[in-house]
């Protein structure tokens, strides 16, 4: 059987799946998103990547000891923007210039660096005067230029176009390729074409997804899609800001302008997170505490819930009512005497003081009991006749049957414990015992915390929570509908 072309189908009165109007709306939607991102990021792309988006700014410092006839590269020293120039015997002046290896494409008029030099290993820095608009050439006169090595550093600044040559010195001006300005517009166009070429397919893909999922069926669904998108962006933007900050350098967090792109990317933030505070230790502590509390709490709650739901004994309902009654009491009421108790028995600053009080949850007991009540009794009766013990019934029948409820309670207890802050803060003094939530405080102990490192730590902290949520989303939703969440 041969398939018919679209034209042939049209002859038989078969309409296309989506009308042109819908396609247009979808394409506009997709392109708005991707090209919008490109437009928002444009100033940064221009500034950081030197407009053609594809090239990076990395100035290479060169020096000349023969008044600009020959130029030599200075060796990078101590950080990427500082360069060392070896001692030049007998020479009084050294000419300096910063060159971008990608200069022909970037255009020297865009160069926005100034140079500073130091003759005393970086104790004092003097600024190089610009010899010419755009070009960063200068002659340096360090006191010891002839005898000792010199350091040069590149300062990223806004271009200063009106630099005046100092009268006292004969300036060495490096000859620049003259065809740079001629090449520039072509390079810009090329870069933007490349950028759009990468944005447009993604936009079209989004348009295809939106059509495929039927978001454009009617006016209402289209409005829904737009609403969803705007709302989703509101939810996600703060997290993007966190991620962006986490990769920035300290200087990049210090400017009064939105910068979404972390450039240069500072991977050392991750190293700093783990080296400034015992972050790995905090992580292990949290995992340890959360696992123990979750295991203990779910097990004791399930056992008690089984007892409340199925077994007959005098006073059962009265005890259960007592459980219910305490659920309305604020945590602050009980935490004070429990803290005093921990002081009296010497448990302050120990894991016991965190794990044991959290292991008995009236709430978990209540929730599981309600679930167990809904299970049919027939299986249990059959098991009883077959001689199964009461614990056997609990372990082999009740627990497997209530897997969703148990899973829900497990996830919620684990997440609750992962985010628990106040009680560990009260109980623990030893930094080595602290969980993440409390430990993160140490990043802020400094007067001005490095936001990049702090955000890096925060990011590392919420990643496991998001993973647990994504894996157990079903139980989350069911749990909320069961009323498993307080407040």
């Amino acid at each position: 059987m041969t398939s018919l072309s679209r034209k042939e189908l049209a002859q038989f009165g078969v309409k296309r799946r989506h009308s042109t109007a819908k396609r247009t709306v979808a394409i506009v939607y997709g392109l708005c998103l991707t090209v919008g991102v490109l437009i928002i990021l444009r100033p940064e792309l221009v500034e950081k990547f030197g407009l053609p988006l594809l090239y990076t700014t990395k100035a290479q410092v060169e020096y000349s000891v023969d008044d600009g006839v020959t130029w030599q590269s200075a060796t990078a020293a101590d950080g990427q923007d500082t360069f060392a120039i070896p001692a030049q015997d007998g020479k009084k002046t050294v000419a300096l210039r910063a060159r971008d290896p990608k200069a022909p494409l970037r255009g020297l008029e865009e160069t926005n660096v100034t140079l500073e030099f130091s003759g005393d290993s970086g104790a004092k820095w003097a600024k190089c005067e610009r010899a010419k608009a755009g070009a960063v050439d200068c002659q340096a006169y360090p006191a010891e230029a002839g005898t000792s090595a010199m350091l040069v550093r590149v300062m990223h600044e806004a271009p200063k176009m009106a630099a005046v040559a100092p009268e006292t010195a004969a300036m060495t001006v490096a000859a620049q390729p003259s065809d740079v300005t001629a090449n520039l517009p072509a390079a810009i166009t090329k870069a933007w074409i490349l950028a759009l070429l990468s944005a447009v397919p993604i936009g079209l893909f989004l348009a295809w997804v939106v059509l495929k999922l039927g978001y454009l069926k009617s006016g209402a669904t289209t409005a829904t899609l737009i609403f969803f998108t705007l709302f989703g962006l509101t939810m996600i933007v703060p997290f993007l800001w966190m991620v962006s900050t986490a990769f920035k350098t300290q200087e990049a967090t210090d400017i009064y302008k939105i910068q979404w792109l972390a450039y240069p990317i500072r991977w050392a933030n991750f190293y700093d997170v783990f080296s400034r505070v015992p972050f790995a230790r905090f992580y292990l502590n949290t995992v340890f505490l959360a696992s123990y509390v979750t295991l203990g709490s779910v097990f004791t709650s399930a056992l008690a819930a089984y007892s409340f739901a199925r077994l007959e004994f005098p006073g059962r309902d009265k005890i259960f009512m007592a459980y219910l009654a305490t659920m309305m009491i604020p945590g602050a009421v009980t935490s004070i005497p429990v803290f005093v108790l921990m002081c009296k028995i010497g448990w302050v600053d120990s894991y016991k003081a965190i794990i044991i009080p959290s292991m008995f949850s009236a709430y978990g007991t209540f929730m599981l009991r309600q679930f167990f009540m809904t299970l049919p009794r027939d299986l249990e009766d059959a098991a009883k006749i077959d001689g199964c013990s009461l614990f056997g019934i609990f372990w082999r029948i009740i627990v497997p049957l209530s897997k969703p409820a148990v899973a829900t309670l497990t996830i919620f207890t684990f997440m609750g414990e992962w985010n628990d802050f106040m009680w560990p803060l009260i109980i623990l003094n030893d930094p080595n015992k602290m969980p993440l939530q409390v430990g993160l405080q140490f990043f802020r102990s400094a007067e001005t915390p490095d936001m990049n490192v702090l955000m890096c730590a925060s990011m590392l902290m919420i990643v496991p929570v998001i993973i647990v949520f994504l894996l157990g989303q079903r139980y989350f939703v069911e749990g909320i509908q069961l009323g498993a969440v307080k407040g």
Partner: protein, 358 residues
């Protein structure tokens, strides 16, 4: 239970009884030690002066009096005037008084005013209540979200995941993130406003004039409310509403459609009454949670400041108990909080109970 009536003291019955006690024992011991007995002890502490190091001293109602009652105080009277530079200054009002020895002296005029014993406490209660204004806003947005999500549209899981992220990640990390977003100069919010509103001249040019959000006494609380909205809008409440909406019988809508009801009439006469139990549940839970809330925000983002404008009762309890070791006073505030929650819950049950359809 009638099933066991005929063998009241049989072996099975006793075994089951023992097992019943046995199975609740671990949980019940913990419940006694860490929940029920502490509640009683805490009630006792509320009537004592106690700093952990020395044994508690019974002081009767003094803690509550210190917190709640008022006293008269002679307060000097100030008038606001303009000085020669046109600035408003406060001047102490004085009057001439003839002393018994004939000398005339200037004395400040005072007036008798009713002042709370602990003015902080009322201020912090006000703060706590102020932060509750996020609740109706949050409930409204959650409901809107749920109504929109309740259509037969594919990919709901994807959107739900995104909207849920803020509530899942609640914790120190997110508060730190928001403290960073609210940073007066380098934070995202001000920079966003200056690059949008700034263009049309609605936002100050000079970064020194930018709003300080959590750093200013006037804006700190609204900022926290905004943050709370962000994290609660798409969270638990939306999912509760979604479940409630899916439980509404579609036949009702069909019937309404035949009768020619508009969408608003359908919502107001069918949806809203039928989901009122959920609204009620959300409201009660949010108020109970909200009254106890605000500790982490205060501790992490603002340290309760500026000028105590973000200190809530929970943070005040924490400071009293664990910073200044006024356990008695802390317990008294905690019980005050409980009393408020209890009364509000009762009122809720009483008054919403009539309007809520079950």
């Amino acid at each position: 239970m009638p099933r066991y009536e005929h063998k009241r003291w049989s072996g099975d019955r006793i075994r089951e009884m023992l097992a019943g006690y046995g199975y609740i024992t671990p949980n019940f011991l913990g419940f006694l030690a860490f929940i029920s007995i502490p509640i009683i002890v805490s009630f006792y502490f509320a009537f004592t002066e106690y700093s952990v190091l020395t044994p508690p001293k019974w002081v009767g109602l003094r803690n509550f009096k210190e917190l709640l009652s008022f006293h008269y105080e002679d307060v000097p009277v100030f008038v606001t005037e303009k000085n020669e530079k046109g600035l408003e200054v406060q001047r102490l009002v004085t009057k001439s008084v003839t002393k018994p020895d004939g000398a005339i002296v200037q004395e400040p005029v005072t007036e008798r005013k009713l002042r709370p014993n602990d003015s902080n406490f009322y201020y912090f209660t006000y703060n706590t209540v102020f932060l509750l204004i996020g609740i109706p806003l949050g409930i409204t947005t959650s409901l809107c979200m749920a109504l929109i999500m309740n259509q037969k549209i594919r990919g709901i899981t994807f959107w739900r995941t995104i909207y849920f992220l803020p509530s899942v990640t609640a914790g120190v990390a997110v508060y730190m993130l928001w403290a960073w977003i609210y940073d007066p100069q380098k934070g995202l919010l001000n920079q966003f406003l200056s690059s949008t509103l700034g263009y049309i001249g609605l936002f100050p040019k000079d970064p020194a004039d930018w709003p300080r959000w959590i750093g200013s006494a006037a804006l700190a609380k609204p900022s926290l409310v905004l943050m709370g909205l962000w994290s609660a809008m798409g969270g638990y409440n939306m999912i509760l509403y979604l479940a409630a909406l899916q439980g509404v019988d579609p036949q009702l809508y069909e019937a309404a459609m035949i009768d020619g009801a508009s969408s608003w009439q359908k919502f107001w006469n069918i949806t809203w009454p039928l989901i009122s139990p959920t609204t009620f549940f959300i409201l009660v839970m949010a108020v109970i949670g909200g009254l106890q809330g605000g500790f982490m925000q205060a501790y992490i983002m603002t340290q309760g400041g500026p000028q105590g404008s973000t200190t809530t009762l929970a943070y005040y309890i924490f400071n009293n108990a664990y910073t200044w070791f006024h356990m008695g006073k802390a317990a008294a505030i905690a019980w005050f909080l409980f009393a408020v929650i209890f009364i509000l819950t009762l009122l809720n049950w009483r008054y919403s109970g009539r309007k809520v359809n079950y």
